[in-house]
């Protein structure tokens, strides 16, 4: 018996609806795209009015960092324990070194050591963050080497000219 060989008929897929949907998706993702810079934060230890956990232990004296500002909010002096470290980015680098010296070896955060930051009322927040960063530690090969875990602010002193 002779078998007639027939070629399988090719089914043509409709590409147009798929392309429509795909383009709609593309436009949706393009329009909803919001470029956000990566963000992080610094924990602040503000235990106001709470008693210390171990009353038998003599609490460590906090390291004191002071920042003086002019009326425009620019930092005019950075002090560590009463010693002036100057101004600008170098001052924060010096502060970082001083904190390292005060806490001992790097890599192991001084768990109980506290830093108290006293900032002038008018000082801009960016300087506050820079000082917190300098006290927190430093970056080494993309990893954070932490010096201090506990950072707090001293009580705010409102200048007389502020409403």
């Amino acid at each position: 018996m002779k078998i007639r060989s027939t070629k399988a008929s090719k089914i043509e897929t409709q590409m147009a609806p798929m392309i429509d949907v795909v383009f709609q998706l593309l436009i949706f993702f393009m329009l909803t795209l919001k470029i956000v810079e990566p963000e992080g934060d610094f924990s602040i230890n503000m235990p106001i009015g709470k008693p210390t956990e171990n009353t038998e232990d003599i609490p460590l004296q906090p390291l004191r960092v002071s920042m003086k500002s002019n009326a425009n909010g620019d930092m005019v002096d950075l002090l560590f324990g009463g010693t002036s470290l100057g101004t600008g980015a170098e001052a924060f680098a010096r502060l970082n070194n001083e904190i390292l010296k005060a806490t001992g070896s790097a890599g192991e955060a001084a768990k109980d050591q506290e830093v108290e930051i006293e900032a002038d009322y008018n000082l801009r927040y960016e300087y506050g963050i820079a000082s917190i960063g300098a006290c927190t530690g430093r970056m080494q090969d993309g990893k954070l080497v932490r010096y201090i875990e506990k950072i707090k602010f001293s009580k705010v002193k409102k200048p007389a000219d502020q409403p």
Partner: protein, 158 residues
């Protein structure tokens, strides 16, 4: 004379490369799109710091307070006193007590201890330190009593 009608010869366009590229573009946009509902406000220009890292363990309960200024097209501040940009409202720091009390009651209602709530302050780089501290003090008011605080900054890549 007999005119022979011929059907126009439609050239077939190869769609495959275009679809490949379009799918690649979709995959790219899907990956970089951030679907997470952040409470960040675009008006706040955070200060930059190399050490500002996202927390290793994601915080379960967080209250974000954006503190910033309204600015004109040239980036100039429209007012000197910063506003707390909160729930679609612009509130002066001194007037935040009522909103913070409401938040406190909300966390109490859902039985979350205030010790587990982190107040994240996203303050503009130009806000005064004293004003940030006043906001923290207000959060620590005996009637409100938030305990944990975090100060946000943009991660600076060096």
């Amino acid at each position: 004379m007999k005119i022979r009608t011929t059907k126009p010869n439609v050239p077939e366009v190869d769609m495959t490369p275009m679809i490949d590229i379009v799918f690649q573009l979709i995959a790219f946009f899907m990956v970089i799109t951030n679907f997470e509902q952040t409470q960040a406000d675009e008006r706040v220009k955070l200060p930059k710091n190399e050490l500002a890292k996202p927390p290793e363990v994601k915080r379960e309960h967080m209250l974000t307070l954006n503190v910033g200024f309204n600015r004109d097209d040239n980036g100039r501040k429209l007012h000197e006193e910063p506003r707390v940009l909160f729930n679609g409202n612009e509130i002066l720091i001194d007037d935040m007590r009522k909103s913070l009390l409401t938040e406190r009651r909300f966390f109490e209602a859902i039985e979350v201890p205030l010790d587990d709530v982190t107040v994240q302050i996203r303050a503009d780089a130009e806000v005064k330190m004293g004003q940030v501290q006043e906001l923290i003090q207000l959060c620590q008011d005996p009637e409100i009593q938030f305990v944990r605080f975090a100060l946000a900054a943009t991660q600076e890549v060096k």
